[in-house]
């Protein structure tokens, strides 16, 4: 079959509405069909294009399904130990303060093994941006329970559902980090419909702007789906996210420009 459909020549008089951002290479994503990691990647790349940051940004790849972002972004990049991206980012920023640095971390990476590093980076007001992808499981390693797995949710390591009495309560990262003086901008978004996607992109832009202005630590949490380990088709997964994750993880700006608060997004 042809590479594109239609096998195209764009007619005169048409302008491009959506195309591959320059900040992405042409390496195909390694994600499962329908996985929203890809959506988030694209939004970040678009913002980098729009802000013209591609020649001074370093991307920090986590360990998780998104480990290969060092191949996906047309940027300098570094792949780092599981959970330690904020510490690595700290090193980069201290040695090269005018470099823009973002980490891209899953919930296992950031809220599990890496909780100390992100919390201390936030407390220090480290001038970098963390993108936090909350899909309520460890995707890459076969769908185990994550710190964000919901009560009752079945995973490969909570086969009878997460039991609060045994496994404890999920962690709400935005709520936790926004108590810290060093956190400048903290927002939770989702990417499961066009409107939410557009909103998420604005959040990404604000986070980068905070960093460009040297105003300290910014973090955007994305509620994301994992069709594979949730055992659901993408549309069912979106449904599940809306019904289960959203109530537990309310969207909104939790901290902005030094102002605290759980202001709900419209």
């Amino acid at each position: 079959m042809p590479e594109t459909q239609p096998p195209v020549e764009i007619p005169e008089g048409m302008e491009v509405v959506a195309t591959r951002p320059r900040a992405l290479t042409d390496v195909p994503f390694t994600y499962c069909p329908g996985c929203t990691h890809g959506t988030i990647h694209r939004l970040i790349a678009e913002v980098i294009d729009e802000l013209g940051l591609d020649d001074r940004t370093v991307a920090i790849a986590p360990v998780g399904c998104a480990v290969w972002i060092y191949e996906f972004y047309a940027l300098d990049a570094i792949q780092v130990p599981h959970g330690r991206a904020p510490a690595v980012g700290t090193g980069i920023k201290r040695a090269s303060p005018d470099t823009m640095v973002f980490t891209y971390q899953g919930d296992g990476d950031l809220a599990g093994i890496g909780l100390a590093e992100v919390t201390h980076a936030a407390a220090r007001g480290e001038n970098l941006t963390c993108f936090f992808i909350n899909n309520a499981v460890y995707g890459m390693t076969q769908g185990q329970m994550a710190p964000t797995t919901l009560p009752g949710q079945k995973t490969t390591t909570s086969p009878r559902g997460r039991d609060i009495a045994r496994d404890g309560h999920p962690i709400r990262v935005c709520e936790l980090l926004s108590t810290l003086d060093g956190a400048t901008y903290v927002e939770r978004v989702m990417v499961t419909d066009p409107k939410a996607i557009r909103h998420a992109k604005r959040a990404i832009r604000r986070a980068f702007e905070v960093q460009m202005e040297g105003r300290g630590f910014s973090l955007v949490e994305f509620l994301s789906i994992c069709p594979t380990w949730w055992g659901k088709k993408p549309d069912e997964a979106v449904e599940w996210l809306r019904e289960n994750m959203m109530p537990y993880y309310p969207l909104g700006v939790f901290k902005s420009a030094g102002q605290a608060g759980g202001e709900q997004a419209a």
């Binding site: 300098d76 990049a77 570094i78 792949q79 130990p81 510490a87 090193g91 040695a95």
Partner: protein
């Protein structure tokens, strides 16, 4: 006498810090632990003076990863710690080895295992020479014996680390970190200005993007990288084996010791000479690569080989490998945060000498 360089009395830890700064180090990330605290204290005081950064990390895990980040920009970066903290850095070191990022790690070794104590020890020999965490990496490891050498090795280590794009570890000892001796210091230098073709910082001027990475999902790719590492270690072995030696040319007892125990051995050799026992000391300065060759050479002469080390016996394995069946190897283990003394070593020289030697 004004232009003559003047030695100043320094603690070993301060010498390590000053040596690193003189060698171009401008970023230090670390977490407090005795007996190396004078290093971060010195850095906190002096880094701002040279336009560098001292940042206290929240843990050793964070510290080594901050080092990873800063070093990936091409800067000269170091951390220091002691046993328990170095243990926590093993994963990060393995990543830096796999991703080929140079840095300096100073381990001022204390008594172990566990919390052990803050006395002097060399029992992190294996963690240094076989460590660097999981996988096939190992640290290029140097062991100073004087405060001056501590200064010099820290000074030089960045050149070595950058030459091989690989972490360098200084395996020091509590006693050496804490003791004071006169040191001749150099003027504080800057890192060489030449651009590192692997250093990150954004695709400035539209250059091609660069990636620092240790993941090679295809076994063939990882095998290729492992082979490169094996070859690198062969090169390091050709180029970096360092040792010092002294003593009789027809020794009856060959002594192998590094660091402070080597110095105690030197004084003990005078006593041995007084009792008529001929000895020779080989003091490894590079622990990896290990000076197999000079040890084997002298082992062929001396029927007895005595290893003196601050552990229950770690370097002795490397010595055994070097010696093969040429000489009888004995070990004087210096345990648990204790300092050895020339008296103790002289006594042991006499003992192995009287016991009778040569191969197993």
């Amino acid at each position: 006498m004004s232009a003559e360089p003047k030695a100043i009395l320094m603690k070993g830890n301060e010498a390590a810090a000053e040596g690193a700064i003189a060698g171009g180090c401008r970023y230090f990330f670390g977490y407090p632990i005795t007996p190396q605290n004078e290093i971060p204290h010195y850095m906190a005081e002096h880094m701002p003076q040279v336009g560098g950064v001292y940042l206290q990390a929240e843990s050793e895990v964070a510290a080594i990863n901050m080092v990873f980040g800063a070093a990936s920009t091409g800067a000269r970066v170091m951390t220091s710690s002691s046993g328990p903290g170095i243990a926590l850095m093993q994963e990060g070191l393995s990543y830096m080895i796999g991703a080929r990022v140079p840095c300096l790690v100073v381990n001022v070794c204390r008594g172990g295992p566990g919390l052990g104590n803050i006395g002097t020890s060399q029992s992190d020999y294996w963690m240094a020479t076989r460590g660097g965490g999981h996988g096939d990496g190992r640290c290029i490891t140097f062991a100073p014996a004087t405060v001056q050498e501590q200064y010099d090795l820290c000074y030089e280590s960045f050149d070595v680390a950058e030459r091989y794009r690989h972490p360098v570890m200084i395996l020091s000892e509590a006693a050496l970190g804490q003791m004071m001796e006169p040191v001749f210091v150099r003027p504080r230098g800057e890192a060489p200005k030449d651009e590192k073709p692997w250093a990150l910082g954004g695709r400035r001027g539209g250059r091609n993007r660069r990636v620092i990475n240790s993941l090679y999902a295809q076994p063939d790719d990882l095998a290729r990288e492992n082979r490169v590492l094996a070859e690198l270690y062969e090169q390091v072995t050709r180029e970096q084996v360092r040792w010092s030696e002294k003593g009789d040319d027809d020794p009856e007892v060959l002594i192998v010791a590094f660091g402070i125990p080597a110095r105690c051995s030197e004084t003990a050799m005078e006593r041995a000479a007084a009792s008529g026992v001929r000895t020779r000391l080989v003091r490894p300065i590079s622990l990896f690569p290990f000076p197999h060759e000079p040890i084997r050479r002298w082992a062929k002469v001396a029927p007895h080989t005595l290893v003196v080390e601050g552990s229950i016996g770690q370097m002795v394995d490397d010595v055994r490998m070097a010696v093969g069946d040429q000489s009888k190897v004995s070990l004087l283990p210096v345990l648990g945060g204790l300092l050895t003394t020339p008296e103790e070593i002289a006594h042991e020289i006499q003992r192995v000498y009287e016991e009778g030697g040569r191969a197993p």
